[in-house]
Symmetry: C2
Subunit: 179 residues, 2 copies
């Protein structure tokens, strides 16, 4: 997908691409591919790649210290199409839907459509989730330091960084919201 | 050049590309094209484009406050070829030369060659200059906040941000180093 987007990476980088399934064992529907270019104590840049209609679940980047109010990030669509959901008025006819059964943990419903060349900057500690369009998406992320282990997902079953020991070997199913 | 590099930008962004000639009036030889995607109080991302053999003069990003030790930046070559010069052992047969007559203000001579997919991270306050290869170059820059007006160029005649009033209307010529 990076190749389709015209993005050149080295062989070493190709081997370093992470398929982040969030420990859910349901990668084709929930997760993303990520290549971290740089992540220092001050800033970070990555490429993200999503399969068609693959979702990345709702989460936020909370304050981590007196001097770090949480990760600030800009998503820039490079290829394909991505639907980003953020706090704000609910979009009446959204173009993406949370994965079936997970609706209760996808709470922000204001839609931002990002086509190639479009970008959106998220302030720290802002709930967001996103889903690729029908062909998938490649998205550059420019941000302050990534501290994935600090991310807070709305679904309490999700941890961005999972211990191998605790890794699920069965697909995750969101609990259906109570009737 | 961005198009050649497979980088999609919006029409608004195309109009916002800056041809930074550093007030030298010699853009084809010294300067670069720059499109700033985002520059917040915490981080910054840009695309840089250089003509064939165009140079960007030696400078550094000094500390600006007790909490900001200066800009940290990563250059990632996307297209073409760029020769980056940084402190370190002088490279014996460098592939780029400072613009003629300007040799005295290009003092760091350790060469780093960046081809598409290659990148290099510069700590704050590090002298550096760079030049595109024979076809030009497109380079992504991921960094902490850009405060161009704080940059210190080795050539005391250069200011990154020039007042229109003080803008030269004749080509800049570096003073020849004394014999």
């Amino acid at each position: 997908m990076l190749r389709k987007a015209g993005i050149v990476i080295t062989g070493t980088e190709a081997s370093a691409i992470e398929a982040a399934d969030l420990g859910l064992g349901n990668f084709e529907q929930v997760g993303l591919g990520v290549l971290v270019y740089v992540n220092t104590e001050r800033c970070c840049a990555k490429e993200l790649a999503l399969w068609p209609r693959q979702s990345f679940p709702e989460h936020r980047h909370p304050p981590v210290s007196a001097t770090n109010p949480g990760k600030e990030e800009t998503f820039r669509c490079r290829w394909g199409l991505v639907y980003l959901y953020v706090p704000g008025p609910e979009t009446p006819r959204p173009r993406a839907r949370p994965p079936e059964g997970c609706e209760g943990t996808y709470t922000v419903r204001h839609e931002v459509v990002l086509r190639p060349g479009d970008q959106y900057t998220l302030p720290p500690d802002t709930l967001h989730w996103f889903q690729a369009g029908p062909k998938g998406a490649v998205v550059s992320e420019f941000s302050t330091t990534s501290l994935d282990e600090k991310d807070i997902f709305t679904d309490p079953e999700i941890r961005r960084i999972t211990k191998v020991v605790g890794r699920r070997n069965r697909p995750h199913r969101c609990r259906r919201p109570r009737p």
